[in-house]
């Protein structure tokens, strides 16, 4: 009675390749939906499906830590933020401005060209890794950098990569402050066609906020 999943014999049937191709297929299809669907809200949902499949692929590529992180950061934070942005700007019931795409063929042509280029480089290059791994593995660090377990990632992250780790926190702090500064109301309301230019002295009283058409 296989009471725990990971003792189940994997190699009798290449289930992980099958799973990988399923995840990849769903991901690419939902990626296409993101790009072609008319309503931006549906595009958001398709994007989230794509992120979840990407998390699945990370898990299959032997790195569950990255999969959980992806779920947490992308699906939890970025997708929710994008959906919030969609909700703030997309008026569901009002006549939608035409979201037709401009020169779709130019874009299609450019991306197909790029894909051809990438496909050529990927399939023609021979990645000879056999010799490579142990030549660098002899580096001084005590961590066995070949096994992708969470403890190793943690150790590697903080010993040789400590400086970038701190730098990332500085970047995120800067983003925090910048986003808040952008969301605040500017002191003088912009002279925008159509809305009465407000007296710069007191834009705050609710009666004539520029937003009220």
């Amino acid at each position: 009675m296989p009471f725990s999943m990971d003792i189940y014999a994997w190699d009798s049937f290449p289930i992980d390749t099958l799973l990988f191709w399923c995840f990849a297929a769903v991901m690419l299809i939902s990626g296409l939906c993101v790009v072609t669907v008319k309503r931006v809200f549906h595009a958001g949902i398709a994007m989230i499906v794509c992120f979840v499949c990407a998390a699945g692929i990370y898990a299959l590529l032997g790195c569950p830590f990255m999969a959980a992180l992806q779920l947490l950061v992308y699906v939890g934070a970025i997708a929710t933020m994008l959906l919030f942005a969609v909700m703030l700007t997309d008026k569901m019931m009002e006549p939608r401005p035409n979201t037709t795409f401009f020169q779709p063929f130019m874009g299609l042509f450019a991306s197909v060209l790029l894909f051809g280029l990438l496909w050529l480089t990927v399939s023609s290059s021979k990645f000879g890794f056999a010799g490579w791994a142990n030549s660098t593995a002899a580096s001084s660090s005590a961590i066995d950098i070949t096994s992708l377990s969470t403890t190793n990632i943690g150790l590697r992250l903080l010993t040789p990569y400590a400086v970038p780790f701190e730098l990332i926190s500085v970047i995120i702090l800067a983003t925090l402050i910048a986003a808040i500064a952008l969301a605040r109301k500017e002191d003088r309301s912009p002279a925008d066609s159509g809305t009465p230019a407000d007296a710069p002295a007191s834009p705050a009283e609710p009666a004539s906020t520029p937003a009220k058409e």
Partner: protein, 364 residues
């Protein structure tokens, strides 16, 4: 592989049904009435209040299944249909890493009996609710009425702002156990603290973490006193106002299975999962006429469910005695009170883990 998936789904829904019945009985007991007594075998109902009416939730479920699913016309169909499915998915997906019990029968060393004991267990448990956040947002927005939109926004704000203290609160036991996987955390709790075998449970070193996690867990699963999003009095069941029939049942079952998941994580991480302090049950028990294999598995399962259900009872008890919190108090409480508290807990746990490491040769 497939059998395990079906097993999870069946276990979760049956468990959720039982929980709804239990909740109504407990609320009845607290309010000095009897709770559902009618749909169930009559003679059992006469015997005692606790046996009566245990068909109630089954009848509710069948009623909800056959009730007509109305999809209002002006609704964003994709979001409306997708939301309950994703909520149910997330509610079930969280059950995977929970360590029900462990056995060393036929094994060299103790193996945790879980659906899949991931080595990123706790991080996975924190990641999956972000799917529920997304689906509540879509449910609120796509049902296109002011009340459900307000309810959806409120619940997303509440869940996001209570996720951070929860992660910090769970950081304590991770540091003490030195690993993310729940099975290892429970194993670490079987050894004692500072050499005393009986203080093993992580609720003792990280008491603050346990309290903060418990509060955040109530907020995360939208249960009173934090049930701002679907407070009937103000928003008319918030984001699931437009839902009816089977879709509403999905939201309802998801909420109850969330409650059970939260209490079982609390037991696994803070109350020492399947471990009884000081006693390790033998792998097999010879009953004279036959050998009962996997005996420690059964004992672990019983101990775990006792602890989980007791935590669940506390959850239900809190539900029926507290008044709802106002949104701005909710936010102040979450950011200004719980967050610093949970960070303090991380510091305390690191100190204890360091002392443990230096003087007593490490936990796990």
């Amino acid at each position: 592989m497939l059998i395990a998936l079906i097993a999870i789904y069946a276990a979760v829904s049956v468990n959720a049904l039982f929980l709804i019945w239990l909740e109504r009985k407990i609320s009845g007991r607290i309010q000095r009435r009897q709770g559902p007594m009618l749909c169930g075998p009559k003679m059992m109902a006469q015997k005692s209040m606790w046996l009566g009416g245990w068909f109630a939730t089954a009848c509710d479920a069948t009623k909800l299944i056959f009730k007509e699913d109305i999809i209002p016309s002006k609704v964003d169909r994709l979001g409306f249909i997708l939301a309950p499915i994703v909520v149910m998915l997330a509610a079930i997906a969280v059950y995977v890493p929970i360590p029900w019990s462990a056995t060393s029968y036929h094994q060299t060393e103790q193996v945790t009996f879980a659906f899949a004991d991931l080595n990123v267990g706790l991080l996975y448990i924190v990641a999956v609710p972000s799917l529920t956040v997304f689906s509540i947002l879509t449910a609120g927005w796509s049902s296109n009425n002011k009340y459900s939109m307000l309810g959806g926004f409120r619940s997303v704000v509440q869940m996001l702002s209570y996720e951070i203290p929860m992660v910090f609160a769970l950081m304590g036991p991770i540091i003490l156990a030195g690993s993310l996987s729940l099975g290892d955390i429970v194993k670490a709790q079987t050894q004692g603290l500072f050499g005393i075998p009986f203080l093993g449970w992580f609720i003792i070193p990280s008491v603050i973490g346990a309290a903060v996690y418990f509060i955040c867990a109530i907020a995360e699963s939208n249960r009173p006193p934090f049930d701002m999003p679907e407070s009937e009095q103000e928003l008319g069941t918030g984001f699931n106002t437009e839902y009816s029939g089977m879709r509403f049942a999905m939201f309802y079952l998801a909420e109850f299975s969330n409650a059970f998941v939260v209490s079982s994580i609390f037991t696994a991480v803070f109350l020492g999962g399947w471990s009884i302090p000081g006693i390790t049950p033998p792998p097999e028990l010879n009953l004279g006429f036959c050998i009962l294999p996997y005996f420690d598995l059964l004992v672990g399962l019983v101990v775990f469910s006792i602890k989980a259900y007791s935590v669940l009872l506390i959850l239900m008890w809190i539900r029926w005695t507290f008044v709802r919190v106002r949104p701005d108090h909710l936010m102040n409480f979450g950011w200004k009170f719980l967050l610093p508290l949970s960070i303090a807990n991380v510091i305390v746990c690191t100190v204890i883990a360091a002392v443990q490491q230096i003087y007593y040769g490490g936990l796990s």
